[in-house]
């Protein structure tokens, strides 16, 4: 039985502005096994990035607060860690890469210096030569000639910048990599390259990964399990086969798949999911998807559904609760 590298239990996070409290995460539950990749999908605003930032302890200062829950990494609750302890983890055991490679690198340091920085932070005992060697190694690993380490970020293309960022993230051989839409800002052809690179590296280094994306195609390619998020909750969770080939799904997931334009069929209009996500400052009681759900029942607007579990597949929907009860 593979061990869970990281377990998130009932995580609640709010953002507090001058006017409002925004309920960003409302009881998120997730696991990732060692060496596996979890795809975290959902619309913008569902809480995917917030989940990743919570793991890293990088919620914006003075604005983001964890209100409850646990994040257990290798059995220890990260939420109880001090800032100093978290800093030891960041870049070392848990790394994160962000969406826009064009602006994620410091323009006035060479790329070599930026890779070296993360190494120096966590392995200060490394000799100069070892450091140089490792930097060159990492560059080669992501497909960039090592002798370019003295160049500055503006001398590289977008795809190459993202590869440098991957090099920085993986330099200390982290156990967990959080990738927040790493290919969204790149051209489609470059996307494929970068994904292939990530997939290979992940295999080679046995890194676990949480891949945040709204692109279901990417999920199908490299993820082992999938969690679908909506309005700050995980509403469906399972292996890639469960989600892509299973017969039963949360209505939202059905909508997501249905909204992907199919090039083989002739249609007149796109199929978006009607409506918008609920206002995060005042969430409705009951199921958060009730307003937009084509199968909405009376109980849905009153009570929040439980997670219905069948083997590896979990769905948070009253329809299945009732079905499950009927089967008993």
């Amino acid at each position: 039985m593979a061990e869970n590298l990281i377990e998130i239990k009932d995580l609640h996070v709010i953002y507090r502005t001058d006017d409002d409290e925004i309920y960003a995460l409302n009881g998120v539950n997730l696991n990732v096994e060692t060496g596996k990749t979890l795809g975290l999908v959902g619309e913008t605003g569902a809480g995917k990035t917030t989940t990743a930032l919570s793991i890293m302890g990088l919620l914006p200062d003075r604005v983001g607060f964890v209100k409850g829950g646990e994040i257990n990494f290798e059995g220890k609750n990260l939420l109880k860690f001090s800032e100093a302890e978290m800093r030891l983890l960041r870049g070392n055991d848990i790394s994160m890469i962000f969406q826009d490679p064009m602006t994620s690198l410091n323009p006035i340091h060479t790329v070599g210096e930026q890779i070296a920085e993360v190494l120096k932070l966590h392995y200060p005992e490394l000799s100069k030569n070892d450091l140089e060697a490792r930097v060159g190694e990492m560059l080669e690993m992501v497909g960039i000639p090592a002798d370019r380490k003295g160049e500055y970020p503006h001398q590289f293309s977008g795809g190459m910048k993202q590869r440098i960022i991957i090099a920085i993230a993986l330099a200390c051989n982290p156990k967990l990599l959080l990738a927040d839409e790493p290919t969204t800002a790149l051209d489609v052809t470059i996307q494929a390259q970068v994904l292939k690179l990530m997939s290979e590296l992940k295999e080679r280094l046995n890194t676990s990964m949480i891949l945040i994306t709204h692109d279901l195609g990417v999920v199908a390619q490299i993820c082992d399990s999938v969690a679908v998020m909506y309005a700050g909750e995980v509403i469906e969770y399972g292996t890639v086969e469960d989600i892509f080939e299973g017969r039963r799904h949360h209505p939202y997931t059905v909508g997501l798949f249905g909204s992907i334009p199919d090039m083989t069929k002739k249609t007149d209009r796109l199929n978006p999911i009607e409506g918008l996500m609920p206002d995060p400052t005042s969430l409705p009681p009951g199921c958060r998807f009730a307003e937009r759900c084509p199968h909405c029942m009376e109980i849905c607007s009153k009570a929040s559904p439980d997670m219905v579990i069948k083997d590896t597949h979990q769905i948070k929907c009253h329809r299945f609760t009732i079905q499950a009860k009927n089967l008993e």
Partner: protein, 305 residues
């Protein structure tokens, strides 16, 4: 983080109606509403308006000839009292009256100067922006040469050549500000012309004149207006500096800078003479600066932090 209002299921979105209504509400009103929320900006505006009222209404409660100009050597160097609110100077003139009338001169010169520099600067700047290419290049190179001369030196040179009458002072200071104003107008107009909504307007078939008046000018005016407040503020300091070194408004016309120059020679024994004119300058410039800052924040639709 913004609040997203959600329609109940089944309710038709009335977003299109809202857009139409927003267009009718003038842009100036929107900016004004935002400005009103800026406490410092409002404070500056109120102070400035108060000062203008005090200064403009001076004749109603003060006597220019008797209090500000006529010398009464028997009451020299009197400290502040009920009769002379801020005391008297070395010629027995009432300091309060001189400060108030001095304000008239300073504000008048400040505003007149901006009229000169803005008119010329706007013509040069918009020509450069509109015609672009060689015209733009030549005009801006010429402006660059002017800008290479520090502002106050330019003013000093012009005053040296033209003389110190009020008209010439306004001319000198106005001319010295033209290069900067033209650059600002040019960049403001350029940035508006480059926006996509101008292209969109053209793509809809909107005529050029309509584009200029409905789209370019209203959007370019904002940053220009901010610069105007800053330039008027700077002019007030410049005119007082010129008067201070003896190249500006001449005696016996009261002017804050020349009053400070006189006060300097009396600094050891009558320091109070140096306080009032200086504070008057600070208040004027500070309130104008606050208004300018508030305006700049109100024009910038980006949410702060």
């Amino acid at each position: 983080m913004t609040n997203a209002k959600v329609n109940a299921p089944g309710e038709k979105s009335n977003v299109s109606v809202k857009i139409h209504q927003f267009k009718k509400k003038s842009q100036f009103k929107a900016v004004w509403m935002r400005f009103k929320k800026n406490r410092l900006g409002m404070f500056g505006l109120i102070v400035f308006l108060l000062m203008i009222t005090v200064v403009l209404g001076a004749d109603l409660y003060l006597d220019y000839e008797n209090q500000a100009i006529a010398q009464q050597l028997s009451v020299r160097f009197k400290p502040p009292s009920a009769e002379h609110l801020l005391g008297t100077d070395q010629f027995g003139r009432d300091v309060f009256a001189r400060v108030v009338y001095g304000g008239r001169i300073s504000m008048f010169v400040g505003m007149a100067t901006i009229v000169v520099s803005l008119t010329a600067g706007a013509i040069i700047g918009s020509c450069a922006a509109y015609y672009g290419g060689k015209v733009d290049n030549i005009l801006m190179r010429i402006m660059d040469v002017f800008l290479a001369i520090p502002n106050i030196l330019m003013a000093i040179t012009l005053v040296a050549a033209l003389g110190s009458s009020i008209f010439n002072l306004i001319l000198a200071m106005g001319i010295s500000q033209i290069p900067r104003m033209s650059r600002i107008v040019r960049s403001s107009v350029l940035s508006v012309i480059g926006q996509e909504y101008i292209e969109a307007a053209k793509a809809c078939g909107t005529g050029d004149v309509r584009i200029i008046f409905r789209h370019i000018l209203p959007n370019a005016m904002g940053p220009i207006l901010v610069q105007v407040t800053q330039t008027v503020a700077r002019s007030i300091i410049t005119i007082s500096s010129l008067s201070f070194i003896g190249l500006g408004i001449s005696e016996p016309t009261p002017e804050w800078g020349s009053m400070l120059s006189e006060a300097k020679s009396q600094l050891r024994y009558y320091p109070y003479l140096a306080v009032a004119p200086g504070i008057a300058i600070v208040m004027t410039v500070m309130s104008l600066t606050l208004v300018g800052d508030g305006l700049r924040d109100a024009l910038d639709p980006r949410l702060k932090n």
